[in-house]
Symmetry: C2
Subunit: 209 residues, 2 copies
DNA sequence: GTCTATATCGTGATAGAC
DNA sequence: GTCTATCACGATATAGAC
């Protein structure tokens, strides 16, 4: 306000001036909007209004709409750590640990919404689809499936992903009842064995037909 | 061209004038576009161009973009008939019959694409979401689950739907490999037992945690 | 039944004052 | 760091000629 403050303590001392609270307000609003309505239906003007700031500010901070999306999708979770936790332990409990971690992350109010936005966006926004594919593939499930040491590990990982993404779609995006309201503990009993079977069972016979 | 022809054979004779081939061309193009890029990214101009007609014609036939979408989603399949086919037969084969019909319908080049469009649209287009919820719920899976005669039939149906919608998302929308290229026969061996367990197994114990 | 022309709107993005 | 003003674009939709 009253001129430059730098230099009082010598160079590079004191906190940098930028990033007032507005940046976080914008990110929060964007997170909510992307999660609630997807990429296409989210407008910069709408985000700005929800955040109580001017639309131009959004561009100032994030450049483009894609930049804003990318910033929101900087997921506050560490896939490698997750994989380590799931893989650690006996193979017999692999499916249940996977299901448990999955539900924890999606039920969490901070890590869940960006993921919901990711699924919504994957339908019509190519970068989202790529991100989700990557998330499904390389980073997570393939490594888990590989740790079980069975053949067809990638297909097994895909099947797990299908069960989990489908659960996410119905439970968190479409909010289909009763699945959306069923407790994570009850769901575990259903999902755990399914994942366990995909990960460790013998490759099934091909049914007639 | 040369004035009115009615009255030659008395009233109400001869075929009605409307519905030239353009209508079908538009529907085909719209089906493709909705399936490929989703609702938001599909433009009336794009559909008109792909169909080789004028954009105004689209409005003439279908009124609004939503009207066009609704027309495309008049699914060329009969849910009641499907349910009957699946339910008929021994309960032990219920899961496999469900998986087989599902893959048949989605792999079919005429019934598959509209369904792909439906999933894409459900992410950000409320009417699509409603339609999909209805399709998942009332019309199909709940009736199938009920036929197995176990408690929690609706939750069981939701779990089946999660597995199937997730499979559709990865296989037909995101085209994740190797799931997208795996033959229906091989998939049956994996999906059938999962659905069978959801439909007929005892309600599982709730795992600790 | 088909197309041309256009009205109206909302979007993402930028330039520049303060 | 924030806001005003505006641009260029593409969308849906409509009126009306042929």
């Amino acid at each position: 306000m009253s001129g430059e403050e730098k230099g009082v303590h010598g160079r590079r001392t004191g906190r940098r001036p930028g990033d007032a609270r507005s940046r976080e307000l914008i990110l929060d609003a964007a997170r909510t909007s992307f999660a609630a309505t997807g990429y296409a239906a989210t407008t910069i003007r709408g985000v700005a209004t929800a955040a109580g700031v001017d639309p131009a500010l959004v561009h100032y901070f994030f450049g483009t709409k894609d930049g804003l999306f990318a910033a929101v999708m900087e997921l506050p979770l560490n896939p490698s750590q997750l994989v380590e936790d799931i893989v650690a332990g006996d193979v017999a409990g692999l499916g249940e640990r996977l299901a448990r971690r999955f539900l924890e992350v999606w039920d969490d109010p901070v890590t869940g919404p960006p993921l919901t936005g990711l699924i919504r966006g994957a339908a019509s926004h190519a970068p989202s689809a790529d991100l989700l594919r990557e998330f499904i593939g390389r980073e997570m499930l393939v490594r888990i499936a590989a740790s079980a040491g069975r053949p067809d590990a990638v297909l097994r990982a895909n099947l797990c992903a299908a069960q989990l993404m489908g659960t996410a779609l119905l439970r968190y995006v479409l909010r289909v009842e009763p699945l959306a309201s069923t407790g994570a503990g009850d769901l575990l009993g259903w999902l755990g064995p399914t994942l366990q079977r995909y990960l460790t069972a013998d490759t099934p016979e091909r049914p007639v037909g």
